[in-house]
């Protein structure tokens, strides 16, 4: 077993455990702490996949911005931020659906042609050049969607709407 495989197995284990922990703990602030670890863990997986640009983006956008936004959401909607959530059970139907999804995805993976190769790495400069040339339309689309949704968000929270 190579060093990369060991590293990946550890990171994958941490990812699943932190994702489950984030959704099951009853203190919402602990949820945010777990999800921050989850985001950093995924960034490490991206570095393992030789995608350094995405790893840094994941650290900046997810571990940085999204975590703080979610924390802000909890902060402004509760009187005491460390108060506990009421316990909600999982229920058999959602668990069955989730297990079914997992089994379906893993079964679909078996159908893929397996190529034994080493990951291809792209320099951040190559990726950024592509983002401004061949893949430019995606970035433009992202800009338009961001602008529209920010307008929508401002409309939702503006004063005196009721």
């Amino acid at each position: 077993m190579s060093l990369e495989e060991v590293a990946f197995l550890l990171l994958a284990l941490v990812a699943v455990v932190t994702a489950v922990a984030a959704l099951l703990v009853r203190e919402l602030v602990h949820t945010i702490m777990w999800i921050a670890v989850f985001f950093v863990d995924l960034a490490l997986i991206y570095f393992l996949l030789e995608a350094p640009f995405l790893g840094v983006l994941q650290l900046g956008v997810y571990a940085g911005a999204v975590t703080v936004l979610l924390l802000f959401g909890i902060m402004v909607t509760r009187k005491r931020i460390f108060s506990r959530e009421a316990a909600t059970g999982l229920g058999p139907v959602p668990v069955a659906l989730a297990v079914l999804t997992f089994v379906f995805v893993v079964a679909a993976v078996g159908e893929l042609p397996m190529a034994e190769a080493s990951p291809r790495s792209y320099a951040p400069s190559t990726l950024s050049t592509a983002l401004f040339s061949a893949d430019g339309p995606w970035v433009l689309l992202l800009g338009i969607i961001m602008l529209t949704s920010v307008s929508g968000a401002i409309y939702l929270v503006r004063e005196g709407r009721e």
Partner: protein, 105 residues
């Protein structure tokens, strides 16, 4: 560097999708539902990054470009979700989705 098995990455992606789905279906707090959606979204982005790295040609670069765009989408979605959280909290004094029944017939 030797390749890590496909089953590992796609299995991790599938597991994260399942966890996210479970969270969306069972949690009642809007912020927790947002967290669950983010977990499922990260599963999708992981797929794009994985297939970009192991694509047979340099076309995999587009996979990374789409992953960059998806990270932006996810951040936008959290911003809109948070606006809904604030509006819901102002209107009902609670962000429990079981209590938001205005649109019910």
């Amino acid at each position: 560097m030797s390749g890590i098995s496909e089953v590992g990455f796609l299995g991790l992606s599938g597991a994260l999708l399942a966890v996210g789905l479970l969270g969306v279906l069972t949690r009642r707090n809007f912020v927790l539902i947002l967290v669950a959606i983010e977990i499922a979204m990260n599963a999708a982005i992981l797929n794009f990054v994985y297939f970009a790295a192991y694509a047979p040609t340099a076309a995999g670069l587009s996979g990374q470009a789409i992953a960059v765009v998806l990270v932006g989408f996810a951040a936008t979605e959290v911003a809109v979700g948070l606006a809904i959280v604030l509006a819901l909290n102002r209107a009902r004094g609670s962000i429990n989705v079981a209590e938001a029944t205005e649109l019910r017939l």
